[in-house]
Symmetry: C2
Subunit: 337 residues, 2 copies
């Protein structure tokens, strides 16, 4: 049973499309109205790291974030997939210090920093990366903080039945307008439970996060907009997007071509966007789609588009540096309202 | 205008399909009869490196290969996308020596060897790769050999109007049962002209190559089957496939999810197969499809399937090494005969 998707991105070579990336898109307002779509808005897909803002939310809503004295930048790194830059690693270390734990408590596993300079610095120093460099270490330290604040086990925090995980899942279901039982479960790259929701439910959750009718939602969306460099890192889409339209956008990509966004709308309910690239290619398939959705929704003006041009379309060059093709989005959002 | 494709490969996580790879497949016999298909057999797609056996063919058919004294292993590397292993580099050097040219004549560009040991050896020696290490250096040296043998320019051999290129294109069209004008043109990663054909035409060309009713066709298909390690390299699909079913299969992958094969059929016309993975992912999208097509066509027995298991399906593991999902093909060839 194949996904119900549409062609979204074309990869051109020599005057014809050589490859294409398909996917589905849901745009939903904070009242739950589907505003626009491409493909099946009921497509059920894992949010992967796009769930991070919602995995942070109970830490803020419970008051634990204040009790533990976390800064806004630290909250942003908890909601982020960071690049392992020095400021990211320092923020996660600070979070763990405030919680009274060491990096040994992190069960996210280890990988080299996404940031090339940070990775090179480790190599030059002859050092191995630690769990702190894992792009998910902020999220994991935030889950540990929730566990410590509630007096719960810090060893079993990845168990889907651990109260920290149950609370996160319940809150995400509530914001998405579905029941907890409707959320599909898997295990993420960093070993946390990951959540599969219909695109329309995920988009609604992002709309409500950004609409910020409650203090906790407001705090999470505002720290992400205030510290875009903590949500991803230099040269990465989420960071550059939120910088390009300051205080208007919450953007959080996930693995396998997932992308969630919230858009502040003047004098109206916020919009939420959920995008799934069916083949899982979040860069070549995903980046042009994210920019094109925002363009069609009127979020990006010419200046912002120019700033984000390298994410929107790019030439394909060969081993001699010749331009032999191009990657570009080609779809129209179907307006439902 | 999207490609007419079907879902071919499923990427599972936590009991549901997270991502999928779509594509189209044509299976055609050497008489031009479509035997089986999935999706649109008239889908026009670039063969990329799957064209290499046909780019070698005029070198053999003109008699130049014999005049220049090329060995069968050298012919196989001309038809291959080699890994830059020492035996590959030595073969290309030998070809150039016989032609009386140096590596400076190669216009393929430079990249690190695909083979990890060969790449590491260069790094340890503090050496940069040369054009000889480019996976297409065999093909380029073969084109130069054709130019030298015909007394043509060796500088303009990449020009689509160069007689060497025109001859290749005419022969490919003839074998595919189409006109030269029906072949779409682009520029490949190594700067040679690349060819877009309907899948059914490409499959027919592979069927005729493998059916080997003429000396030149026989020589090309037989050197590829005899020297599978020269067509790709250790740990790569084409090499391992041709080893798993000796003297029964010609296999040549290309970039962007393209794959061409010829299958020797006892007491009947050979079969040709052309596969295009629409999103261009030749590994996760392509490898399981290649194996599954051959399984459904009865080419691979249980022993061969066991040998090729790692190309057929594999677990998805996360940063802690946990198995969290699986990649596997899921489609049925539609039989046309």
């Amino acid at each position: 049973m194949a996904f119900e998707t549409e062609a979204l991105v074309e990869v051109w070579r020599g005057g014809r499309v050589e490859s294409e990336h398909r996917g589905a898109i849901a745009v939903v307002d904070a009242n739950g109205q589907v505003i626009a779509h491409v493909g099946d808005v009921d497509l059920v897909s894992y949010l992967r790291s796009s769930a991070k803002p919602f995995q942070l939310l109970p830490l803020v809503e419970s008051g634990a974030a204040d009790r533990l004295g976390f800064t806004d930048a630290e909250l942003a790194v908890i909601a982020g997939s960071h690049s392992g830059e020095p400021r990211h690693v320092a923020a996660v270390q600070s979070i763990l210090d405030k919680v009274g734990l060491s990096e040994d408590a992190l069960q996210c596993g280890v990988h080299m920093p996404f940031n090339a300079e940070a990775a090179q610095a480790l190599r030059v120093a002859g050092r191995e990366p630690t769990a702190l460099h894992n792009n998910c270490s902020g999220k994991h330290s935030g889950m540990l903080a929730q566990a410590v604040d509630r007096g719960l086990s810090i060893h079993a925090y990845l168990d889907p039945q651990h109260p920290v995980q149950v609370t996160i899942r319940q809150r995400l279901a509530e914001l998405g307008g579905i029941t907890v039982d409707e959320i599909g479960m898997g295990v993420d790259g960093c070993s946390v439970p990951c959540f599969a929701l219909p695109l329309r439910a995920a988009a609604l959750a992002f709309a409500r996060l950004t609409d910020a009718r409650e203090d906790g939602l407001r705090r999470v969306s505002r720290v992400m907009m205030a510290y875009p460099e903590m949500v991803a890192g230099e040269g990465r889409l989420d960071t550059d997007l939120m910088r390009a339209v300051p205080n208007r956008l919450v953007s959080k990509g996930g693995a396998e071509g997932y992308h969630g966004m919230g858009i502040v709308v003047k004098d109206g309910p916020a919009l939420g966007v959920a995008i799934k690239i069916a083949d899982g290619d979040g860069r070549r398939g995903g980046h042009p789609v994210v920019i094109e959705v925002l363009r069609q929704l009127g979020v990006l003006d010419e200046a912002a588009l120019a700033q984000l041009q390298s994410y929107r379309t790019w030439p394909i060059t060969n081993h001699r540096g010749l331009e032999v093709g191009e990657v570009r989005a080609n779809f129209s959002l179907i307006r439902d309202v």
